[in-house]
């Protein structure tokens, strides 16, 4: 009896949909393109972001009373394919706006095409400053690399109350140079003192000379935005040499192997990252809703920051189309640029003058040999 009951209600629902459909179908759907690395070396991140986009689409399938149609293209983790993908979305599928991509070099190749056609795009996780530099039509839902440096400085100075910092920078790596210079600038502006400013080159394994010098200057905190393998070795050597200061890095340290290589030396280590983690305490309402939705739709996989970024991109675009009241690319571009305080799982999002998202920066700390999300910092 129960089964037939369920069937009956299903039939009713279908009938209701059928009745509602003509009015939605009457108008052309709003087309949103998606280009992400679904195969190749970045496929892992691309797939998570695509699922995030799909999740948001499932929750909000219409805008301005019209259906939203997603057109998904694989950019195969390849720069040439990325440019072709955006070309296809704009010329063949005539999308009004597009989402993507994971990876800064892919975004630079794709964004160039969208720029020439005058169609707006929103990058998911491309953090190199160059991605949106000088671009009229390209935006992103993430913050840029140097922004983390500024947020790290604010967290160290204000939240941790550390007044003396030392820097250990990889001079041969743009990522490290960008983060360090923004850290220094913000830290000094806040009133902190940089007591040592040491450098090394990518590929170095011996940091003892630099660390001995740093230990001698007695800083409270050492900022060292290295990649994880290097960073773990730096921490090990610092502890071996007797350094007792706190150490802080950035999102490139966000890797389980940091702990495997660094072992006990990683205890207490802090690093900045995107402000979403499935195990974060004090989740915002938006983050809670996203997490619950994700778990219901993809029960086998935990949501991570990439899935949240895909989700945020779609909602950011839908918000812009609603405010613009049209799916005209120029109107969407204008509305995207005016985005302010949009509630998202990543926190309250605004688009700044350089088309980057202004978001809080998440802070991770290793405590008792475990990675823990301990809060957020705001760059000044």
């Amino acid at each position: 009896m129960k089964v037939s009951h369920a069937l009956a209600s299903l039939a009713l629902a279908v009938a209701a949909l059928g009745l509602a459909a003509p009015s939605a179908l009457a108008a052309e759907p709003v087309k949103i393109g998606v280009y992400l690395p679904l195969t190749g070396q970045n496929a892992f991140g691309g797939q998570l972001e695509l699922n995030g986009v799909k999740l948001a689409h499932q929750a909000h399938p219409t805008v301005l009373g019209r259906d939203v149609e997603l057109v998904v293209v694989d950019n195969k983790s390849d720069k040439v394919e990325a440019a072709n993908a955006v070309k296809r979305l704009i010329e063949r599928d005539k999308v009004s706006v597009y989402i993507g991509t994971y990876g800064s070099s892919l975004a630079m190749a794709g964004g160039e095409v969208g720029e020439k056609a005058g169609v707006p795009g929103v990058g998911t996780s491309c953090t190199n400053p160059l991605v949106t530099q000088g671009k009229k039509y390209y935006f992103r839902a993430c913050f840029i690399d140097p922004y983390q440096g500024a947020a790290a400085a604010a967290y160290a100075f204000k939240n941790l109350g550390m007044k003396k910092a030392a820097i250990l920078m990889d001079v041969a790596n743009d990522y490290s140079v960008g983060l360090c210079s923004f850290f220094k600038r913000s830290y000094k502006k806040l009133g902190g003192e940089i007591v040592a400013d040491l450098k090394y080159n990518s590929g170095d394994q011996d940091f003892t000379a630099q660390l001995t010098e740093i230990i001698n200057k007695k800083p409270d905190i050492v900022f060292m935005p290295a990649y994880f393998a290097e960073g773990a070795i730096i921490m090990k050597q610092a502890r071996e040499l007797g350094g007792t200061f706190t150490m802080m890095g950035a999102d490139a340290m966000d890797n389980p192997d940091t702990l495997k290589i660094g072992g006990k030396a990683v205890e207490g280590f802090l690093h900045t990252t995107f402000p979403y983690d499935v195990a974060m305490p004090n989740m915002s309402e938006a983050a809670k809703a996203f997490t619950a939705d994700w778990k219901a739709t993809f029960p086998t996989q935990d949501p991570n920051v990439n899935s949240a970024l895909g989700y945020v991109c779609y909602n950011l675009i839908l918000d812009a189309i609603t405010r613009a009241g049209s799916d005209d690319p120029a109107a969407i571009t204008k509305a995207l640029a005016e985005t302010k305080d949009l509630p998202t799982p990543l926190g309250s999002l605004s688009i700044n003058a350089t088309h980057d998202a202004e978001l809080p920066v998440g802070i991770i700390q290793y405590k008792d040999g475990k990675r823990q999300y301990i809060g957020e910092a705001i760059a000044e």
Partner: protein, 297 residues
């Protein structure tokens, strides 16, 4: 600079320098005998470290056993490398063997990426080697003292083999003139194979020491140390075993002391090392301990 601080820098430099020296003696030995710069030396170093890693994790061997197996395995690999890549080119111009060496280096790196993956691996450090001890306020690990010790023992053994044994005598003869040595009835190929076996065993030993000091291994870990050790060998006079050790120590001391005395110039630490190298070579082109080469007519 306080005495305590200087002592700390001194020990840091001693560790780094003796590691460079240890790698450089393998380089210089092969060059001294065959006049071949074996660019694959740094990659054998990497493989040695990986052999220990897999020996202890995959085959659950005790650490000392894994070390012995890794050194023997690398020696075997050295013989194989000679047989495949260098022996067929014995009578070819020297540049051909050099290109072949570069090819072997790339091959081993790519193979390691495929087989071991590019992911950096953590290295197990025996507790007794890395527990901190304090000398005059400077902190160091027993490893810091062990590395120069191992280097000294290996240099002594190597000098003994080359100057006081029959195969060593044959090696010296080969370094002067391969053809004449062959005519005198020496099995040249066997002696050269032995040279590569010893050279690769030394590379593996230095790789294991390197991985103990910097406990993270990846397929490209041999590139930089190999490069630096090559410089140290040229600096000391390539072909001279004592020269390689001295060259390595000097390079290590320059690198550390540059940062110690001019912290604001720490980004240029390699530049300083290389400028000094250029100066030494301008004044003494054969390196510190190098013999003057007479060109044969």
């Amino acid at each position: 600079m306080t005495l305590e601080l200087f002592l700390q820098h001194f020990f840091n430099a001693l560790t780094l320098g003796s590691l460079y020296g240890l790698i450089a003696i393998g380089y210089t030995m092969v060059y001294g005998i065959l006049r071949l710069i074996n660019f694959a030396h740094g990659d054998i170093l990497m493989l040695g470290a990986y052999f220990v890693f897999y020996g202890t994790t995959l085959f659950c061997l005790p650490w000392p056993v894994a070390v012995v197996v890794a050194i023997l395995g690398s020696a075997l690999l050295g013989v194989l490398m000679d047989k495949i890549a260098y022996r067929p080119l014995r009578s070819a111009p020297r540049i051909s063997a050099l290109i072949s060496a570069i090819a072997v280096s790339f091959f081993l790196e790519s193979l390691a990426v495929v087989v071991f993956t590019g992911l950096p691996r953590p290295v197990h450090q025996p507790e007794w080697l890395v527990s901190i001890i304090t000398i005059g306020g400077a902190r160091l690990m027993p490893l810091t003292l062990l590395v120069p010790g191992v280097t000294a023992v290996l240099v002594a053994a190597l000098l003994y083999v080359v100057y006081h044994t029959k195969p060593g005598l044959a090696m010296q003869a080969i370094s002067k003139d391969i053809e004449t040595t062959r005519m005198l009835g020496v099995s040249v190929d066997k002696i050269i194979a032995l040279t590569f076996a010893i050279g690769s065993a030394l590379a593996a030993a230095s790789g294991i020491m390197w991985a103990l000091r910097y406990p993270q291994i990846n397929p490209y870990m041999g590139v930089f140390p190999g490069f630096k050790a090559f410089i140290a060998a040229v600096f000391g006079g390539i072909g001279s075993i004592q020269g390689a050790v001295v060259g390595g120590l000097i390079l290590g001391f320059i690198e550390i002391m540059t940062v110690a005395f001019f912290p604001e110039l720490s980004g240029y630490r390699d530049a300083f090392a290389f400028i000094l190298l250029v100066v030494v070579l301008l004044v003494k082109p054969t390196g510190l301990f190098g013999e003057k080469q007479e060109e044969k007519i």
